[in-house]
């Protein structure tokens, strides 16, 4: 598991705040904010000014738009909750909502997929503040006209906004602009369920480091937690999962459908994935395997079998194998094809019978003539290798002797089956010392 370059929190924040494509960066929008908390209970009127009823909630549609548009209003008419289509709104101010028609068909409100109610689902609920890297509660939400629709553009998580909502009457229901965070900088967990999600919040979340995401995931539970995971790009979600505490990760997987677990584990580094699977009970593990692609499942099944105190149990199976008769050009092509995999720093060369000959660094390939055969590059220093059933202490000894950043793992016939990178070894050692009680508690008693 390799971490992406560390970006400090401050730079992320600066980059997001300074982005000029944010809605709140526009003065016209900043000046036309309408507080959702203040709007609830206000009259909804026909074109002529006759009151239809009082506003109960605002329905928004969260789809591909960065700023979710208002798709309708829920209005209390008599004793029933009626739905009014958002397209009929002609004017929306802090004190009233006016429709463009003098007559509407009032229909009973029914929830539709991809829609959320701002008061019932978002206000006072947990929300991920991407800049602050924390889970907070929504104190208020702000609407403003943008791209010919009324949209949610801002959110307020301040205590001040919360306090002024508690008091009845007019006590400053207007927005406090300096506290308003652009909607693009938060991820509402109410919006995570369903297939659609805001691309903007997805990219905002996408700028977080996996370790920070892991903390956020651990802070949440149930629906909110699943929502956050759904909102992440699957690759990023898998990276975040790798960073989670073992116990928390086990708990998380038990709460996810097998299909989703399978997708995430398949995207993890094979050795990490196997480690996770090994700790699940047999039925659960099997149900996850069932949801995986056959080739991935086969590989992971093999890894799971290995004892994790042996070389085979800690190795990664991501290696690129080439034949000694292949050319340098084809080896480079293979590397390029696999550039997304973290471990493509070189290739493994085998002989006609598949036995390990050498591990050739990318720099050697680049320096060589592209038509040259790989066999011409084979030579000392040869890679250190350990057997698949060698014990952890032997692996450490080999590492110490050889001082490299990785060693090869071969089977009984000297065929390469995987590689142990230094960080795999660190992980293996960390979990050994944890179990001996050396690790510091991170919350729960160890």
């Amino acid at each position: 598991m390799k971490k992406p370059p560390k970006t400090s929190i401050n730079t992320v924040a600066k980059r997001l705040v300074g982005r000029s494509d944010l809605a709140l960066a526009r003065k016209s929008i900043r000046e036309s904010l309408v507080s959702v908390a203040g709007l609830i209970g206000k009259p909804v009127k026909y074109q002529g000014g006759n009151e239809i009823g009082r506003l109960i909630d605002v329905v928004v549609k969260h789809g591909i738009d960065s700023y979710p548009p208002v798709s309708g209003l829920i209005v209390k008419v008599g004793h029933s909750k009626s739905f009014i289509d958002g397209a009929r709104i002609s004017k929306l101010t802090q004190n009233e909502i006016q429709l463009s028609t003098s007559k509407v068909d009032l229909t009973e409100f029914e929830r539709r997929d991809g829609e959320s109610l701002l008061d019932a689902d978002v206000l006072d609920h947990q929300i991920v503040d991407v800049n602050g890297l924390r889970v907070v509660r929504t104190s208020d939400l702000y609407l403003a006209p943008l791209d010919r629709e009324i949209r949610v553009v801002g959110v307020d998580i301040s205590f001040k906004a919360f306090v002024r909502r508690i008091f009845p009457g007019v006590l400053g229901r207007g927005p406090i602009p300096e506290h308003v965070i652009d909607w693009a900088n938060v991820a509402s967990l109410a919006f995570g369920t369903g297939v659609v999600r805001s691309t903007q919040s997805r990219s905002a979340l996408g700028q977080l480091r996996p370790a920070d995401l892991a903390d956020l995931i651990e802070d949440l539970a149930g629906r909110e937690r699943s929502a956050l995971i759904e909102m992440l790009h699957p690759d990023l979600a898998a990276d975040a999962l790798e960073e989670m505490e073992d116990d928390a990760l086990q708990g998380l997987l038990r709460g996810l459908p097998s299909e989703q677990s399978a997708g995430l584990i398949a995207r993890m580094e094979p050795d990490e994935g196997a480690e996770v699977l090994r700790d699940l009970n047999d039925d659960h593990r099997e149900s996850i395997f069932q949801e995986m692609e056959n080739s991935v499942a086969k590989q992971l099944r093999k890894l799971v079998e290995f004892d994790e105190t042996l070389a085979g149990g800690i190795m990664t199976t991501h290696i690129l194998t080439t034949h000694e008769e292949d050319t340098v050009a084809s080896a480079l092509k293979l590397l390029v094809e696999n550039k997304d995999r973290d471990i493509s720093d070189g290739i493994v060369v085998v002989d006609a019978k598949g036995r390990l000959l050498d591990h050739i660094q990318i720099i050697e390939l680049v320096a060589a003539k592209s038509s040259a055969k790989l066999s011409t590059l084979v030579g000392p220093p040869f890679p250190t290798s350990v057997g698949i059933n060698d014990r952890l202490d032997e692996v450490i000894k080999e590492f110490a002797n050889n001082r490299g950043s990785s060693i090869m793992v071969v089977d009984e016939k000297n065929k390469p089956v995987g590689r142990i990178l230094a960080d795999d070894l660190v992980d293996a050692l960390a979990s050994t010392s944890e179990s001996s009680g050396f690790a510091q508690g991170s919350g729960a008693l160890q």
């Binding site: 509660r137 205590f159 508690i166 651990e218 928390a248 708990g251 979990s431 919350g443």
Partner: protein, 417 residues
């Protein structure tokens, strides 16, 4: 991974014990801290004035404690949110703020009662309250603010050990176990203001609002997961049962000595003093020693519970492992509650009795909406998912809530007549 290698080293039985020890805490600590000085005082008065007759009230209180602590712990683990935050989310900003406000007020009052307990017990050992109270405030703040979660929890367990003192004192008093058993299972009730007050107070002190808020937040802070729920249940049951058993021993001690000799008392320190000629100096000292331990435990939990609730209401981070910089609100609340209560108890001529009576009434009134909110959360499918409460459990919750409601109504009726 850790568990794997453990399995090679530990037998399954040892592994189970280790797993339980790791989960243990919320039920034990939240339960035992309900046996605070106010609780011990109430049980003492119950025993001194009514002998074994009202023991059954404590039995019902204990059952109610088990049921609702269990629910609180489960809500915490499943939702990863504290009680006040959930009330804000489900019942709105105003309900959340009102609950939190009442809770803060009641907690300051209760915290003052804990310090009063420390002051009284200190005086039994010849220590001035101007020394014992500030000392306790500093000790408690240092303990909670300067240590990691794991260490704080271990110290809580250590303090809890003092409760054994009450069990020893109980045996030394030589009670009539037959009468005690009858009193515990046969409910009889003298319909007088005093009896109803003490019965309601017993309910209110055992099933304290801050305890319910605490167990939920503490389970969140401890980062327990759904897989821990089974073991957590063992912890909650053990903790709540122990809480009840200690209460029963206090009642029995006072029933066997004070009640038998017709001695009336007002608080726990009175009880300790009155015990001396009847059960010996050691019994008095055990009683006073237990009182200090009980007060210290509760005085650590109360500001902590308040700090969790305030952070929770505002949606700010609240964890013992956070630094002051990460969670300022959490720590400021802790310090404010501790400081304010210590000052209240030290002001000469402060209307202490009024504060304590007001606190007791406020706690009792607050308990009812909190239980109803918890009931509402327990049956919310969206929040609880597969852990939503069953029909059978809902009936049980309903019965307990009704009993509490009746007791509170009786108490209020007598209070204002």
């Amino acid at each position: 991974m850790s568990q794997k290698i453990d399995k090679n080293r530990l037998s399954p039985k040892k592994l189970r014990i280790a797993a339980f020890l790791a989960v243990m805490g919320p039920g034990m600590i939240a339960g035992l801290s309900d046996d605070d000085p106010a609780g011990i005082a109430t049980y003492s008065v119950l025993g001194a004035n009514y002998g074994y007759q009202l023991l059954w009230v404590l039995v019902i209180s204990t059952i109610a404690l088990i049921i609702f602590q269990d629910l609180g712990a489960r809500i915490g683990v499943v939702t990863r949110q504290g009680m006040i935050g959930l009330i804000r989310q489900k019942y709105g900003a105003r309900s959340g703020t009102l609950s939190a406000g009442a809770l803060i007020l009641a907690n300051i009052g209760t915290m003052t009662a804990e310090f009063a307990g420390i002051a009284a017990a200190g005086q039994l050992f010849g220590l001035s309250k101007y020394i014992s109270v500030p000392l306790a405030a500093i000790l408690v703040s240092y303990l909670v603010l300067r240590n990691s979660f794991a260490r704080v929890e271990k110290i809580f367990f250590l303090i809890s050990a003092v409760f054994i003192a009450y069990i020893i004192a109980g045996f030394m008093a030589g009670p009539d176990w037959g009468s005690a058993l009858r009193g515990a299972v046969v409910p009889t009730m003298p319909f007088t203001q005093d009896a109803i007050f003490i019965a309601t107070a017993t309910f209110g002190t055992t099933l304290a609002p801050w305890g319910l808020a605490f167990i939920q937040s503490y389970a969140v802070d401890k980062r327990l997961t759904r897989d821990d729920l089974k073991l957590l249940r063992v912890d909650v049951w053990t903790g709540s049962l122990l809480t009840g058993i200690i209460g029963i021993f206090v009642v029995v001690t006072c029933a066997a000595t004070l009640h038998k000799n017709g001695i009336q008392i007002n608080d726990a320190a009175d009880a300790a003093l009155a015990l001396e000629p009847l059960a010996g100096t050691l019994a008095k000292e055990l009683f006073a020693f237990g009182l200090i331990g009980a007060a210290l435990l509760a005085a650590s939990i109360l500001p902590l519970s308040t700090a969790y609730s305030v952070s929770d209401l505002t949606g700010r981070p609240a964890a013992l492992d956070d630094s002051l910089k990460e969670a300022p609100l959490f720590y400021i609340t802790f310090a404010a509650i501790t400081g304010l209560s210590a000052i209240l108890i030290l002001i000469p001529g402060a209307p202490l009795i009024k504060i304590l009576v007001f606190t007791q009434i406020l706690n009792a009134i607050l308990l009812l909406p909190l239980l109803i909110y918890m009931y509402g959360i327990s049956k919310d499918k969206v929040l609880m998912g597969e852990f939503v409460s069953s029909k059978k459990m809902r009936v049980i919750y309903g019965v307990i809530i009704s009993i509490v409601a009746i007791a509170i109504c009786c108490m209020l009726w007598f209070s204002f007549n």
